[in-house]
Symmetry: D2
Subunit: 366 residues, 4 copies
């Protein structure tokens, strides 16, 4: 396996298992001069921390981050930034049973096939805890974006049958309810739906939506490093995500050129502007100056207590009820993971966007 790194110029390398000593990330390519301390990272990590509500695992983890390198006197130095979060509540006794069988919807069997055996404690590397490194790195990327005037808003768009109503959209709501919805009413309905799932020892899927404001136009590199391509790769690398779309997404399949094209006009400020934004802010693989809008479909938590059929390592058909402390829905805690991966990708591609014109390179080195 050599799949622990993401990004070309702003590059992250994550490591760690659910029940090992800890998890972390090395961020390479962060420019010098960014004010940074552990609190900047902690704010992001707290958004994915377990035990925050009834709808997340009750595992007790403070997820306290420690920065080991790359920061000196409160600023990034330009060298690799290593960050570490120790596991505190491994309780690996809970997981002794699952060593013997293959959990439906999990990577257990594939790990055995690929590697010959697996770290069966809590999913090992394929646990949701794997995203700690992504989020810690995402906090840094987000700070860089902020310095460039770019902001990201990410939230739960739906849980099971409950979707937000855009007429009630209120960004301030996002961090105020346990399901990170920008619509208090929908949040309440979603929580009620989750209660019913939990009662049935079942779990729910959902949808995450992400919007980026103030992205400069022309970012993204045809033909294989388009902005949408790399955002897609970023999002689809997150466990449990089965679909990705940008702008009108799957709706375009039924659209026509006339209904889907974004026409241009001169804006009040004398700049060219798009009249509509079906493209979701990316045209021809490059940011087009409009708001970037993307969505990800998240599958239901595969670990459920309801009875399921499976096979054990002895090759026998068995029925199981998975115990342990599992989230009834992945979506809310994945919101900050999506935001982090988007931020990392945008920073990477903004850096890549600095040498498309010779005259700007000459100017840079003058």
């Amino acid at each position: 396996m050599f799949g622990s790194s993401f990004g070309t110029l702003f590059k992250i390398t994550t490591w760690g298992e659910s029940h090992g000593k800890g998890l972390g990330v090395v961020v390479d390519g962060c420019p010098a001069g960014l004010p940074l301390d552990e609190r900047d990272i902690q704010i992001f990590l707290n958004r994915r921390r377990p035990g925050q509500s009834r709808y997340t695992t009750q595992r007790k983890e403070s997820d306290t981050v420690e920065i080991f390198s790359g920061v000196f006197e409160g600023k990034t130095t330009g060298t690799a930034i290593s960050m570490l979060v120790r596991n505190e509540d491994q309780q690996s006794k809970d997981y002794s049973e699952i060593a013997s069988y293959y959990r439906p919807g999990h990577a257990d069997l594939n790990f055995d096939i690929k590697y010959g055996f697996r770290d069966y404690r809590g999913g090992g590397r394929s646990s949701g805890r794997e995203t700690i490194g992504r989020v810690a790195a995402g906090a840094i990327a987000s700070k860089i974006l902020q310095e460039l005037g770019i902001s990201i808003t990410t939230y739960t768009q739906s849980i099971g049958p409950v979707a937000i109503d855009y007429d009630r959209f209120d960004a301030d709501q996002i961090l105020q309810n346990a399901v990170y919805m920008p619509d208090a009413d929908a949040a309440n309905q979603a929580m009620a739906y989750l209660e019913s799932c939990m009662q049935e020892q079942n779990s729910s899927g959902g949808m995450i939506e992400c919007r980026v404001q103030n992205m400069p136009a022309g970012i993204g590199d045809p033909v294989f490093e388009k902005l949408n391509t790399n955002l897609g790769k970023a999002i689809l690398s997150i466990g449990a995500i089965k679909g990705f779309e940008i702008g009108d997404g799957f709706q375009v399949a039924k659209a026509t050129g006339l209904s889907n094209n974004d026409c241009y006009q001169m804006g009040a400020d004398g700049k060219i502007e798009k009249i509509s934004n079906h493209s979701g802010g990316i045209t021809g693989g490059m940011s087009d100056g409009c708001e970037i809008i993307l969505r990800a479909a998240v599958k239901p938590t595969p670990s459920i207590s309801a009875t399921q059929k499976t096979v054990n390592q002895a090759g026998e058909n068995i029925e199981i009820n998975i115990k342990g402390r599992h989230d009834p829905v992945i979506v809310p805690r994945a919101v900050v993971v999506v935001e982090s991966m988007v931020a990392i990708t945008l920073v990477d591609m903004l850096f890549a966007g600095m040498f498309s014109k010779l005259d700007r390179i000459i100017e840079f080195y003058k």
Copy 2:
């Protein structure tokens, strides 16, 4: 721009513009010993060649491929394979007008912003002709997969409102109708729909579906080089694609763990098998031995003759009617592009799957 390469171990580098001298690709990492000649490539290229039906551009191109390196006495040598297709029917006079304004839904404006100017002849690098290099490389990847017993079936799943009926699914139909649908009735309806689009000087979107048979399990590298991740990147790098999903895709958002998990049982052959395939053949980022199923949403051709608003380079609001020889739908010719990108990705990841276990490496070098 440095986005012309795709893949890590089986790596392609494409080049060429719509109205330049030609287009091509360098394939690096093709193993030695694969029987290969120009006919193998031509079969693939013919599937995306223009002028094959009423529903494709009437530009006259034979798209004849020439292999320049990496093949000796009918076999690949292990060195880089360079392939070239010359443009024959550039007719760049048709495109002189579009130099002066920005076509809605195209990359024109972004190219000007990013590079300071653009090759305005037929979209330059962002033309659909860009995919010639992908398809030529895809033909090689497909031959390798064939040697490994892996096959791919790709087709049009829908055009505008017309979708195939899976009860009438007939793979033999795919290459027998102009819209590459595995359902003759749906194909006829789709063609009728396209006629109506053409009459309205409009165009249509659609959906492509791709299935892979006999993929070995355990391929894909957590956490950033998952099989679905790289398939997503591959597909989303194709122009006009706005959405990607695998298996149940966006349906998972409304599913529950019980309905979405694929349970296991012992098969008649004594091997573990999945009872269902909601995952679309990829679990935990690795192939799980089942058929891989993925879908891509393709936007309508942005070049339409109907009147559209836009802005010219003088900064004036204008109305335009784009002339030229454009496809009323992108989907059918993109089918082989999707198949090619899938094949390239699978070969790349199969190679990457060869050093996950120490004992197999020791065995290899014994």
Copy 3:
């Protein structure tokens, strides 16, 4: 084999065999706006063209380059630039004999081991003709450097026992003698030495030196992408090169800190300057503002007509006399190859040097 690409941001992908249809390169990452036409490339290619003197192979090749993409109306567009040189004088009949045995000092046997068979015509991919792609790309890199005010001087430092005398150093001489020495007297002696080698059906090694003027300080990325590291990789990727050194090079092994350190002083222009340049312009892996100086040791041409022992494919000990049109020395024609690889590396690392400081990135995107 997947080793046909070099560089990260300014990336070249070369292809082609000695006796195939042609050779070429795809240059990806060239910024838009560089004036470029075939003559710029041809000047470089002519410096490595065969048949220029008694001391190069008599193979007749015009090495005429054709640009296929990435240039529009005389300027680079920012898209991939594909260049092609056709082989004209393959004469592969000359090479039929060598198919049966392994030439000492060549890659023949290794190719058979690695790939199962080989393109035996003239060395195939491991021929010196492989460098055509490097030189064509190097011409572009050199033009970019020129726009940035950076210049490179490369020349033969020694051939066999004959080295240049730095007191007679005359850069204007380099292109005026057949061995590319900046010292007319040494050049004459070197040519006399080559005559004696040729009479003995033998060949000679030699040394190439390269100097870079006006390189900005601070370029190079600790700890694995140092400037010297990548220059070393670039040079050591050229066939026949067995040693690389920078600045005082191997002399440092016998030096002391006092004799080897470059002390600093304030210059007349109020800038800090180094009093000496033992480091060869690179300190701590980064350019230090002084002239960059590097040297490469080139082995003698392995193809010689004198009798040599070897083994044939039947496993018999035999004696051979290699026929064909071989250079008695590799060095002179490799001078422009070294210069090209240095230019490519410098451009790549200059681009990589654009995002080390946050404030400059903010300024860039303002």
Copy 4:
């Protein structure tokens, strides 16, 4: 800066500064099933640990390594292995003075130019302590090589004017003297020479030699990922190394084809063998089955107590005497660093050597 990773398939990412909290590495691409615990790593780290003799810095560091991930029940799992060594004896007060001026031979000034400021404590990222991550990763790579039957011998070839006598070569001596020489007499002379350097507050350069036994033939990927190319990159990425050569190295410049070519003969075992090994085990960029031999020239420690001229941050010419705990010679502690980088490179390229032939890939996946 994005230069913290090395390798393609077996990839290491190092981080950490001389006086930060610690240093470490993430190893990605280690196959599953390798027995591994902290003692395997510690043996390697102890070979570069400070305070072992009069000739190394007296800084007190146990350099105790902790493995955080990728190992389960005593075996590697195939996931990323994160390792950490905490700094224990930072004593950063020693370094407060050097914040104000630029040390000759160090990266201080370049860091300020590149990043705007620097972590001035003990050289920060450009300290010799940076190599801890390389050596920890090298220990793993060496274990893999051992499983494949490949061994590496590395030692000091010379210190200042004192070189080993190959007639007295005794590999067992290497770990038995403070300067890691395979010749007890030379070691004593070298130590005497170092005493004289120390008395003069000066330091010494030297040479390291490395030999690899039992490397399979055909490893290395023409034309840019040759084995010698990547070994060169690996070695030249180590601080203080100014020259690299393979086999006869710089001697080839004065050699002839007849003297330099390695002729072939049939061996007693019925296999083709080289009669000589001027190539140093690498021909045409691929291992040729013979012992690989390479050498690196190491500059003298730049930190010396003798008086040197430099400039301070106020722009004044000053004279300095660097205090602190510095090694009078870098070579002995760099021996294990060279061995580690060679091991990492060999593993990476052995993995890359697994898909050169189609039939072996087919066999693998059967």
